[in-house]
Point group: C2
Chain length 550, copies 2
């Protein structure tokens, strides 16, 4: 059997490796247009900031062997043709036309695998073709950035506030650069996060010294030794990292008469077969299905690509492996914050479900254990059934663990009540006695039960702007209030522990909004005021930072 | 309504707090025999080793208020009577008889909550009543241990190799003591871990300088300024920490005619009601159900106690909150290792299911990211259905995240195939492209499919002892092999990358066992040998440490 694979990234090399493990005889050829194979692009930001010593580390096995052509040849009997272009597929004759150094050739196949990955998408901005504008999608990009830095660059613009853009901000800042982030939409990580969660990330970027410009379009870029970026105002920079997104690289498939969906991704079935039974496709160049909405989506993630490779190899060998779809899990490190998401944002969920959501903020471990951090969780669920639809978590605490638990719960079609029954691992170094995942379900159920009436920061802000007559009671301790002033109008400080004795100071005829950093004390305070007969009491949901970042 | 709660630990104070939040009027009284309330016993080892500054930190709220009687009185209008004994319940008259400082009194109740926790169990060893033998269950215990240390103690014996015993070893060693751990059974953490996983922990304890004596019974203890512990040999020590377990403190319930099960725990229904509808019980003093086996068990864990408190409060107020049961999740930190478990060990699962298991070892993050550690996973599943029954994880990597994902999957009744479909959060700082949870499912399915034939370390050891004729091929790189010699008989080193060219060096008539630190290269190597026509090839499952710790 002869298998030809186009693309030597995660899907391609995983397919090749698994094929070889299962079939010692198959002739396996991989065709790659670039120079490197099995290269972990996800590691580029960490290489830039110096956490990963060399670019070669991003294509090494865990035991230190560089995954180059020789590695695959000697260890796996897989032929990899680098710097070789796949020109066209002749599906009738089952042959792939290729070219290397100008000379063309043809390879026959029994099965062909298209694993061509993505193409960077750049907006049509005059001047964006400058050599001082690079991406962060390849080893070459990273090298260029380091060249700029070595030549004395001091100021960088990052264009695009998505996952890679935010990782780029951290990397460039760590390199000592002044960094300006420009995002055309009104918030960073717009597809991952709802507005209030996105604002927490923006605030953290600013805290770390990144200039964040949202709702900002670049009109033109002028190069003259350095760059002038015209975006409402003029921004001078030594170079720009343009990471405005990628699209499926499905050109070869289109030319070969295979189907491409509205997402731009190649259409495949659950077995990752195209409409030609001898041609499989996987990874970033195909479209997949969102298991919550049934919608076809484009999901260019490294983990999915790896899974696809395994499934394609199994199916080429007559197996029946299936890829059911994704739920939309992703995570990134942005300075001291981890930012994770799984399932649907509230914004997206509203298109498909009757949804409700809750904000919970808490410690990631017992508060007395050293190094404890905070996780701010937004949980999105179906209003009638309590079914979990999505979670977003932001904070300096352990985020990934909770995202993975929510992701597992979503795949298991769990509800708020199921989350309450989770038997998670508790010991002080790992979690509070009740994990934030479970507490979030508690808070959601408290809210549904009417045990507290929440008010979102956006609403408070509007009321402040309209000059409405209400009172914010900050229930932090005196020390905390002194230490960090909140500077909000209509606000007084009464520590929670004094509240019962000081209810006389509060007006009974006004709306009283209770606030604290996490929302826990505000909730307790609201129960006290209600027990004292107050009728118009609200809890600032999720805590003060949601209001302070507005 | 008058509610009386016996016991001011996690269940008691959680019940009181939630009751108050939901019902401003209820009269709530808590009766506690000790001095402290809301004290986190789980934090004691970290206090001992200096990670937690003071004992008060273990009874503070996250915002620094000490949870003492005044705190509950002022903030929650809850009366807490400390150093007060609950003597007897008069169920007909609905009254609790109490005594404080020798004088008796009675409190009437509408609802009573028994939250009396546990009692330490000590084996009947002559001399164990010495004042130099303490537990690690209370603030007083921790204080005594620090007193010994301040008086110049240099040598400690820890009696009992369960969760608290192992945490104690780390704490005492961190305090600079010589530590000997004595466990009567043949392995440490015997109820949490199967033998091969337990051995990894033992080896780590020894690496950290703890003397580990398993299958060792103490005959007597003689005090004479210091301690002489007779346990086969004579061990001198300045003090002993005896943590041989706890049992439900159900005395009050028994005296009051309530039912106690075979586990010693108070019998309650899913609403945590005893057979007396006006008496609830929860936390460490009740028995609960294992959701996998249906068996009644005793599960004294802080997270369960907290959950119980919430449920009891809801139900006293006419709610219908349920505690379905537990699956047996637990975790502990033992020096650089985290040791986690969820569901059933293979040993226990065999009593209920036809089970199979797999060992997988891998990196917890992309191998190139700084600080990456290793997780060694044992997954137990039902042979016919692939349903996940249990997982044990040991290693210096991130264990808790994977345990929580497995725990969620078990509650969701997921199978190996479901695990393969999990959409978990990938980025280099958080996980490898394919999380170890998913890879474990892959390896299990590979094994079921016959893609590799595994051999367990125990079998190899036996064959070595019998002097059987076979060959172990260590497929590590030359550098690794030089760096760490494995010193096993019948063993040669051929790096994986050279294997294809050196197959001629291997005998075709003998059993060949392939081995490497994690098992990944051994698997790849086995596929190469099989493709070269070798008929009798095995992979040392889980990696070399399983053999080297035997």
């Amino acid at each position: 059997m002869e298998v030809v694979i186009v693309g030597a990234g995660a899907v391609g090399m995983k397919t090749a490796s698994r094929l070889r493990r299962k079939d010692p005889e198959a002739k396996i050829t991989v065709v790659e247009s670039g120079r490197y194979i099995s290269f972990s692009r996800c590691g580029l930001p960490y290489f830039l900031e110096g956490k990963v010593a060399g670019l070669d580390d991003l294509r090494k096995t865990p035991y230190g062997a560089v995954r180059d052509e020789n590695f695959f040849k000697n260890l796996k009997k897989v032929d990899v043709l680098t710097e070789t272009k796949a020109l066209a597929i002749d599906r009738n004759r089952k042959a792939l036309r290729i070219s290397k150094n100008g000379s063309e050739d043809e390879i026959n196949y029994d099965y062909l695998v298209i694993a061509t990955g993505t193409k960077a998408v750049r907006p049509a901005i005059p001047g964006i073709e400058s050599e001082r504008v690079v991406g962060l999608y390849s080893a070459e990009d990273a090298k260029k950035i380091l060249e700029f830095v070595n030549e004395g660059a001091k100021r960088a613009v990052v264009l695009g506030g998505g996952l890679i853009g935010l990782e780029a901000c951290e990397a460039l800042k760590t390199l000592g650069l002044e960094v300006t982030l420009i995002e055309a939409l009104e918030r960073v990580a717009p597809t991952m996060l709802d507005p209030e969660m996105s604002r927490l990330v923006s605030a953290h970027l600013k805290e770390k010294g990144v200039k964040v410009l949202t709702s900002t379009r670049v009109e033109k870029i002028v190069e003259n030794g350095t760059l002038k970026v015209y975006a409402g105002k003029e921004i001078e920079a030594d170079f720009m990292v343009a990471v405005t997104g990628v699209k499926p690289n499905s050109e070869l498939a289109v030319k070969s008469g295979l189907d491409v969906g509205e997402t731009g991704g190649i259409v495949v079935n659950e077995m990752l077969q195209t409409k030609d039974e001898f041609i499989y496709a996987g990874g970033d160049c195909v479209e997949t299905v969102n298991l919550l909405t049934g919608e076809k989506i484009f999901a260019p993630f490294g983990d999915i690509a790896n899974k696809h490779g395994r499934i394609i190899a199994d199916n080429i060998l007559g197996g029946n492996s299936r890829f059911r779809g994704v739920i939309g899990t992703a995570i990134m490190k942005v300075f001291d914050f981890s930012v994770g998401v799984t399932g649907l944002t509230e914004e997206r969920a509203r298109n498909y479900f009757r949804v409700s959501s809750v904000l919970f903020s808490g410690f990631d471990r017992t508060h007395y254990y050293p190094g404890t951090g905070i996780v701010r969780i937004k949980l999105v669920f179906e209003e009638d059934t309590g079914r979990i639809l999505g979670a977003q978590i932001v904070g300096n605490g352990v985020v990934d663990k909770r995202i993975d638990v929510f992701a597992t719960a979503i795949l298991g079609k769990m509800t708020l009540d199921d989350l309450e029954q989770l038997d998670l691992a508790y010991a002080p170094p790992y979690s509070p006695a009740i994990d934030p995942v479970i507490t979030t379900a508690y808070v959601a159920n408290n809210k549904l039960e009417g045990l507290f009436k929440a008010i979102r920061a956006e609403e408070v802000k509007q009321m402040l702007q309209k000059g409405e007559d209400f009172l914010i009671v900050d229930v932090r301790s005196e020390a905390e209030a002194k230490n960090f002033k909140v500077n909000l109008p209509n606000t007084i400080n009464i520590p929670l522990t004094e509240l019962r004795n000081r209810v006389g100071e509060l007006p009974r005829d006004k709306l009283v909004i209770l606030a604290c950093p996490l929302g826990l004390r505000a909730y307790e305070a609201s129960r006290i005021l209600i027990s004292e007969g107050f009728k118009n009491v609200r809890v600032l949901e999720g805590g003060l930072p949601y209001l302070l970042t507005l």
